[in-house]
């Protein structure tokens, strides 16, 4: 039985995000093989009632966005669709610039974001991640729940997503040069006096 079929069964049964590493472990194959099989599954799900969502290295099945109205008509509890200005601003920064630390969010927004971040965490729209480079630093990133509310299967489906990522890379590159020149300059002045 092809790998993509087994993966779909697992994702359907689980009904929640599953890490690619976990799939590889369960199915006893390498992670690249899982990724290839996921492409096959994604292909098969073209114009189907179900779609494959992918974020970082986890995947999940969901109803296709075009069925949104249909499904909303049969669910009872009301969905919290409103987002205050602070919430919208903060989510946009995290979506386009995430994973990102709180001090950077405060820097961009010019305000303290502690309260709105906690609010978004509790609603499950963002999640915390420990910065691999520095254990003490907490980074904030989007969740599958947020992607579900936006109706996107991948972050790349956000308008201008790749342009913005490039803008950030260039911006950081220039800053890194500035910092380096700054450092050499301060070393120079150190050695001078």
């Amino acid at each position: 039985m092809d790998l993509d079929i087994k993966i779909e069964s697992i994702l359907f049964f689980k009904g929640e995000p599953v890490a690619i590493k976990k799939l590889a472990q369960i199915l006893n194959v390498s992670e690249p093989e899982i990724s290839d099989a996921l492409k096959v599954l994604e292909e098969k799900l073209q114009d189907r009632g179900v779609c494959l969502m992918q974020k970082d290295d986890s995947v999940m099945l969901g109803t296709t966005p075009s069925s949104s109205e249909l499904i909303e008509s049969i669910i009872k509890e009301d969905l919290n669709k409103d987002l205050g200005k602070a919430g919208l601003e903060t989510l946009s920064i995290i979506l386009y610039r995430g994973p990102i630390r709180r001090s950077e969010i405060d820097y961009i927004r010019g305000v303290n974001s502690q309260f709105v971040l906690r609010h978004l965490l509790i609603r499950g729209l963002i999640e915390k991640e420990i910065d691999a480079k520095d254990q003490r630093v907490i980074l904030y990133k989007p969740t599958f729940e947020l992607m579900s509310y936006l109706g996107i299967k991948k972050l790349e489906e956000l308008p201008e997503f790749s342009e913005v990522r490039k803008e950030i890379e260039n911006f950081n590159a220039i800053n890194k040069e500035d910092d380096e020149t700054q450092e050499n300059k301060s070393e120079q002045t150190l050695s001078e006096n």
Partner: protein, 243 residues
């Protein structure tokens, strides 16, 4: 005075939100000229917030001090700023540009949010459960876990004191200056502003207060030599109350 640009009483998320809307309302680009232009509107808007939450006001005042720097340089192009001050101004412009870009992008997010949802599979109801605790499901581990949860409960973030250090506001300084001049008719800027003793930002605020009074024709000033002290003198005896 330039027609006071009436800013709608919309709610601003913070100083950058206010500053950006002032600039965009005048259809200007972000640079030090436009920033200088909107400084008055910014300060008058901030003054209109009566009982302003302390942590928020600090953010607004911090941006105000950079704006005052930009404005003073636009009034006195010869004013020499330190490298830090130049960096502050450049930093503010950078922050504002990133903020503006994020605001543009957030309109996409707003449109998409809640319009076409993706739904996960619902929870399987009446599932046959199998009682299966793990090796850590025991009274002592559960107690240490709940203690850990209580320890990590978020505490109110105590406001970083440095943020709220009293930056003498422009209005207070103007009132102080007007009061001082009314009594002594002539006074040197150096000892009024505490030049050399006071912190630089306060000297700048005093300097701007003096410029405002010159602009409003309340005092006139003379400076004998380059970088020399400045003599300040009231124009008329009845000095109007600066509202």
């Amino acid at each position: 005075m330039e027609e006071q640009f009436k800013v709608k009483t919309e709610h601003f998320e913070g100083p950058l939100d206010l500053l950006l809307s002032l600039i965009e309302k005048r259809k200007l680009f972000i640079n030090d000229i436009s920033l200088a232009k909107v400084t008055d509107d910014y300060i008058s808007h901030v003054k209109s917030y009566e009982n302003f939450p302390v942590d928020q006001s600090a953010n607004f005042i911090l941006i105000a001090s950079t704006l005052l720097l930009i404005k003073s340089r636009s009034l006195l192009p010869a004013l020499k700023l330190t490298e830090d001050e130049e960096k502050n101004i450049e930093d503010l412009q950078n922050r504002l540009k990133i903020y503006q870009r994020m605001k543009e992008l957030s309109s996409n997010v707003k449109k998409m949010y809640g319009s076409n949802l993706i739904f996960a599979k619902s929870e399987t109801k009446n599932i046959q459960t199998v009682f299966s605790p793990d090796k850590e499901t025991n009274v002592s581990k559960l107690l240490s876990t709940i203690r850990e949860v209580l320890k990590n409960l978020p505490k109110k973030e105590i406001l970083p004191k440095v943020l709220v250090r009293k930056v003498i506001s422009l209005e207070e300084t103007i009132e102080k200056l007007t009061g001082r001049i009314k009594t002594s008719l002539r006074m040197s800027f150096k000892n009024f502003s505490g030049f050399g003793k006071e912190e630089k930002v306060n000297v700048i605020v005093s300097f701007l207060a003096m410029l405002e009074l010159v602009k409003n024709g309340i005092i006139n000033v003379m400076q004998q030599s380059k970088h020399g002290d400045i003599e300040m003198e009231t124009q008329e005896i009845g000095v109007p109350k600066y509202h």
